[in-house]
């Protein structure tokens, strides 16, 4: 497993870098998915499930963390391509860092996940160049998170509500949560799932396949 240590790109041109990376990946037919959430909401568990459920899709994962390589090792054990990215203490990935990490991955991968650093604040502020921003909110975190971290919900194309198998245990009002999220971002797609039981995974997987197909169609016409 490779470990890359990155420093923040000190440029004011993050948006330009992001646009360039997005264009490059689209032309290559790779869907880069920026996966964001708080620490402990189940990003690696969800990705592990997707890798098992989508054996026909060439998947790679870039695990960004302050320290450790436990997540990349987990992914690699499933047979998917994985690299660990250390962010030198940075609380997010920017476009330059993402581009450097992408360089280390096999260009023939179709679905490339960037598991961003675990927090609901900083990653929302930086366009990584991803074609899809996917955020996770786990049931134990609480249904008030859209009120507290609105930007993350506004910047995401899709929200995966994880650990739904624990809904009976926690006071989490899914309907109220959806309402709060839709108020911030009417176009967002919401997928309640349990990566443990598999509940809801089919809808999320269909969505990812659809986005992947749209990307390839887009490339054909480009």
């Amino acid at each position: 497993m490779r470990l890359i240590t990155l420093n923040a790109t000190v440029t004011a041109s993050n948006d330009r870098d992001a646009a360039a990376l997005r264009e490059k990946l689209v032309s290559r037919g790779t869907l880069l998915v920026n996966v964001m959430s708080a620490a402990g909401s189940g990003k690696t568990t969800l990705l592990s499930r997707l890798i098992r459920d989508l054996p026909d899709v060439k998947i790679g994962v870039m695990e960004a963390d302050i320290a450790s390589d436990v997540d990349a090792k987990t992914i690699e054990a499933l047979g998917a391509a994985a690299i660990q990215v250390h962010t030198s203490g940075m609380c997010h990935m920017d476009a330059g860092m993402t581009a450097a990490a992408v360089e280390a991955m096999d260009p023939s991968l179709r679905l490339l996940f960037l598991e961003n650093v675990g927090n609901l604040i900083c990653p929302a502020e930086y366009d990584t160049g991803a074609g899809l921003n996917l955020m996770l909110l786990s049931v134990p975190e609480g249904d008030d998170k859209p009120l507290k971290y609105p930007l993350m919900f506004q910047k995401s194309d899709a929200l995966v509500v994880t650990k739904t198998d624990t809904l009976s245990y926690f006071t989490f009002d899914l309907e109220k949560c959806v309402e709060r999220v839709k108020k911030l971002n009417p176009a967002i797609r919401i997928f309640p799932v349990s990566a443990k039981t598999g509940e809801g995974m089919a809808a999320l997987e269909a969505y990812l396949r659809e986005r992947l197909a749209a990307l390839t169609e887009g490339t054909d016409h480009a």
Copy 2:
């Protein structure tokens, strides 16, 4: 309820500001507790329980958030002094911001909690001037967090492992977690609690009373 919007103090003197605030609070007999954790690990629920369990202690809470005032309203409903601090998008509180928030609180408060912005990264990097750094890790987040966010565990005087009532539901190895934490910070005090059932709260409350008593003794000899 008061709402304060703060911008980061743009000075290189955060450590000096922190030391000055700490000295001021000690001389006043106020224990400032900097409460740090990921989003959704139960900071407000824990503080609510402490307020109910320690009716003889004058408690105040400063709730730092990017947006919303739901936490300050929850605390205020319990009859404790509370202010909401908006951090203008900043992912942490620094010493200058904390000092400004403290100014808005009744100086006769004995136990003053700063509920820092919810993430395990940035708050660990800034000394707020607190007399006690208390971090929370909730069982649903997972026992691997010390591996991923070592700095937060190194900077904390005490770790509260929250939501222990869910231990049977999640694969969280408390013993392994304690071992990982002690390796990073041998002096740290660890309190597994459930604010829901009350399990473990007595030990945490005794610890806070002890720290409060030590502060007053310190002041007498100063």
